[in-house]
Symmetry: C2
Subunit: 141 residues, 2 copies
């Protein structure tokens, strides 16, 4: 009974990049883990303020950027709407519900990922793939 992917220690990951674990970074990250609804920077800002009332929006942007660099968080974009942030580290696609605006994680089996990468002709060396669905969701859960 292994714990489900022991979440990489924030402090550890930051250290690996030669960065410090600050209260701001810790709270921003914990807010993302607590409610995984792909919030925007503004939404993260609002949630973090509850714990750190004096944090600035600029800092939230800085922290999010840092977390993305450390690969603890993914930045997700739909068209030109504000960037959303996702702490799910498993390979997954995103489903954007056009009615509600909600975003869902869709697990991507390695086999499918492989299949998708096979469409690339010789000479194309992909470092990442991104798959985004758009439509209507009525999730079972």
């Amino acid at each position: 009974m292994t714990p489900p992917l022991p979440p990489e220690s924030l402090t550890q990951r930051l250290a690996d990049s030669g960065l410090r674990a600050t209260p701001q970074r810790e709270v921003v990250y914990s807010v993302l883990l607590r409610k995984r609804d792909h919030p925007t920077a503004e939404e993260v800002f609002a949630r973090v303020k509850a714990e750190l009332p004096t944090i600035s929006l600029a800092t939230v942007y800085n922290c999010l950027e840092t977390l993305v660099q450390c690969e603890l968080v993914r930045a997700v974009n739909f068209e030109r709407s504000p960037t959303r942030y996702c702490p799910n580290l498993r390979p997954h696609a995103h489903f954007h519900d056009e009615q509600t605006g909600r975003t869902y994680d869709i697990d991507l089996p390695p086999a499918v990922l492989a299949e998708v990468n096979h469409v690339l002709p010789a000479g194309f060396d992909a470092s990442s793939v991104e798959i985004t669905f758009r439509g209507q969701a009525r999730p079972a859960s």
Copy 2:
């Protein structure tokens, strides 16, 4: 010897949507067809000005939006960089070369598309999928 997908007449498509074929719309569309390098609105603006020196940037945005509505053109976004425009109507993914910034069309076989759609759990009804690769390209052609 059928012509390769007789490009839907712009005039026809516009009429279908109850819209008029204007010189501005025609030139914007022809510019997209002429050089399929996924230009931004600003780039389209520059190219169109050669033929219609008095066109405004607002009109270019309007025309592009119209062409997207008519489904003659796809809007393509990479992160938060300016939207790019693509007149390729076949199902295809995009490959974004991180070095050069160039964008390549990658044909998507129906089988792969089907496979990808199969990752959706019950309750998720997708109206479209978007696949984007990022990496380094050394295209054969």
